[in-house]
Symmetry: D2
Subunit: 304 residues, 4 copies
């Protein structure tokens, strides 16, 4: 199988590597040619200097897999591909797109007979070696065309891919996956903070996280990673208490609102990230002010 | 009526003032004699230099009202009074005691025939002029003995006191009152933060809080105070984003757990105060570390 | 002043009444003519049988105030008015529209020189007698044209209206108002449930809610209403534990997500409503199933 | 090594089995003799008809491991053992005791020179085959005496036990473990409910939970169990939406309050269980009543 991989960043680069090593001929394109050249040299990837060139190096039916930032870069690439590709070709969006966008894009390119597959991708930087978890949405024949690549990216016996539904269902499933991830992470972080807060026990959090990896109810990959990291450093003095968030945690809460389905913990896990990002703390300042106003309680001054 | 007021701080001092002005003869005691002397000079309060002296200046049946910090100071005063008072006298605890303590203390002094009234007190620094809201627990005859003072502290037509149940019920009701207060305050603070966050509208939060005071659904005393404060300053640059908490918010959540009755918003309002008090942010540091571990996401360094 | 009121339901009907009684000539239109006729007979309102007729009964510069369900009915009326009105006329949307819609609609009608005022309205069924709270967005001259009506709907000295910002700012402010309302209501409901749950004290919740109305920190209009209702019935046996929600609580949480500003309690208050609406409880069923799976804990069967 | 196992229920019975199979001589006692006789017949366990008899069948230094319900049964057994054992013997509490109780009990028996080990135990019904996760608190020499049993219960290379700190630290660590478990479970349940709520995608939740087990970020033992259960039945129609809770989730929140360390998601996960257990829904009834009171919104009647 020959296919194109567009976007060779942290995720796309590793996926291209894994595909090359698995016997897939990958035509790769990235905005910065250095990465393209490096992958060509290291992995035998076929280099392309432009999206158009990548397409031209394929034969019908073409498979073009995008690993681009969601939003404008993905939107633009799909618009361009809509003009370049022809009936029977398939676009795969492996990025973190909002599933509503995927539904819309799938419908748009379908008018030209182009297939659309949304492949929600989990596994992070570990996917190169361990394989990825791919949640795939799309029509049956479009997915079939992509299947050889899916098998390399997420091989048996640890089968890490599945066709979960129509276009949009892949990114929807990935979105929920990440929403759950937010909640699990927050639960774990709170528990470790409580253990650290119990200073009289002087607990060794590296020891405990390692311990819990064996036969406990909370054993999980997130715990594996936490244990590894705490072995290096459990004070975390160098890390700022600031937690970024990306689209999918937010979209999960919006989905909860759209459905009217309660997701209190997933919503709260997101709110806590916002709180961590908020350097002003206007809400807290107001609360302090109110306490002073009704009870005469002293206000802690800024900088104190 | 003659009674003693023990503890003449921010709350007790104003209550003594209000009682004196309302025709009650108040024997007042405070650890620092300056306050005692000042109230004696200004309000005609009868000064006492010790708890024992205050008791000696009363005639049976005696009413001794405590406005002391909850915990050790209140505990100690009640132990002392248990020895000083006699059958038919009444101790009133107007402080912020845990209702379980009040139940225990009431049972202890009852053995000596001493009545016990727990008077949960709301109204803050405004009570001197506006009167207080008093949630009173105790036996009927004990409360009857205290009634003249209650009427002065919380007069008609804005009747601000009620006998809500047996010993403990007063402080229980006050505890729940404060739990609700935490939730209402947090709700309001979040709303104002969202308005401040919508910078393109450049909203005047002093104007809006004043506006809402008239005929809106959220009109409330907390809003009145907020509006007054925002008129002075709506940037709040001088205030640290740090919100203390006192016993009653915590006890409300413990009560929820003891009962198995859900109080998700009251619990969360308390958690948010803890978050505001946490200068280390170990939970957030862990989350940032985990994101790095699974996804290679950059960590914001401390001090960045 | 002569103006049109379109939509004479629970809110619009009372507003028309109040305007008529305050000396404004109101041309009123509603889909069902009975309401129109009743208001014409009772209040001297000028009846109109169609939106077009209502417009024709005004003279330039015209003010047309909409009190319609948000969404399609409001959208449609504005489209129609865009064709019927002319430069210098003003549309007022007093309904519960999403502020993004108001911004879009304001921009659309501005092309024809038509002014747009979004008047977020609070006060519910009590506004007829007490006056309303009106949060007004729009250009200065458009608001000025509407001012006589605002003064009647929300008169001094309890001035209940303010011009808070450009088009959209009125509905934005109303949205936040409702978000806060959700949080305050939830806080209060949880507190009362905790008091009911403390059965050994046998608290009279009608008494306590009335008590808190006087000098307490939680005194508020919501408490006033609660006290009135609990006087009638504090068991609430006839009421289902089901809490509907409307757009504005949802939009407040979406705004929090769009801004990245934490609103944990407002989000949770919304989630709790969703939980109350959920008759299946799939989340809880899953939790029960999981407990069984890891711990062998018995599962409560449906219908038990 | 010879030791006693007191309490042979779901957990204790399996642990006795595993110990017998691992070459430990177990003297077992349980209130109902049937279980004792069965384990004697099946596993060669030495039967005892009373706690005293079990102790008498050991030689000093004795190890007596309790697997009893927390609270009164454990308390009583320890009181009895305090009289039966002698200096150098060790009591192990492997049940779910509150760590404050363990600290108190450890201090009590220490007066008689008896060692105390609190062994928080995770692993549920799977521990028999997979081994347990044991979080062990106590003095070094007491733990050393128990070590042969720990090695059988939680063997290398999947080493599932660790000595985490002084008496109390074991149950503390187990408590936090369970608090995290509550949060992780709630996060997962919410995510699956959102997938079920997206009916247009008709997602196969058994397929997705199985898929996520491979290389995803949320892979975990809880997910493994969920996937297994959903393969049998993903409608869950027979399960009531009712989630019990046990002490440790509650104690985790109390710990958060005692420390003043925020645990918002763990607190909320507990509140949600309380909500699931609440058949009256007084909080929701009140909210419905308030909406009616201010806005005239229709109330859903009980039974509708």
């Amino acid at each position: 199988m020959r296919m194109a991989m567009i976007g060779l960043g942290k995720m796309g680069g590793n996926m291209a590597r894994r595909l090359c090593r698995g016997g897939i001929e990958v035509v790769g394109y990235n905005r910065s040619p250095e990465i393209v050249n490096a992958l060509a040299a290291e992995e035998g990837m076929v280099p392309a200097g432009a999206l158009r060139e990548a397409v031209e190096k394929l034969t019908a039916p073409r498979v073009v897999w995008l690993m681009l930032p969601s939003g404008a870069p993905t939107e633009q690439a799909i618009e361009e591909l809509n003009a370049l590709l022809e009936q029977g070709d398939v676009i795969v969006d492996g990025g973190n797109s909002n599933y509503h966008d995927s539904q819309r894009r799938g419908a748009t390119v379908a008018k030209a007979g182009i297939g659309y597959v949304d492949a929600g991708t989990s596994g992070g930087i570990w996917g190169l070696d361990n394989g990825y978890c791919l949640m795939v949405g799309g029509a049956r024949d479009a997915v079939a065309l992509v299947e050889p690549a899916l098998k390399v990216l997420a091989p048996a016996p640890e089968r890490g891919w599945a066709h979960v539904g129509p276009v949009g269902a892949g990114h929807f499933t990935k979105m929920i996956h990440n929403g759950i991830e937010y909640g699990m992470m927050q639960a774990m972080a709170e528990g470790f903070a409580l253990m650290k807060g119990k200073s009289e026990f002087n607990l060794d959090l590296a020891q405990i996280s390692e311990l819990w990896r064996h036969s406990s109810v909370v054993r999980s990959w997130l715990l594996d990673l936490t244990a590894d990291a705490l072995k290096q450093d459990q004070q975390l003095d160098d890390i700022a208490p600031y937690v970024p968030d990306s689209g999918e945690g937010r979209w999960t809460v919006v989905e909860s609102i759209d459905q009217g389905t309660a997701a209190p913990v997933l919503s709260l896990a997101l709110s806590m990230r916002f709180t961590s990002q908020d350097e002003e703390g206007y809400d807290f300042k107001l609360l302090s002010m109110m306490r002073n106003a009704f009870g005469g309680h002293a206000v802690k001054k800024a900088g104190e």
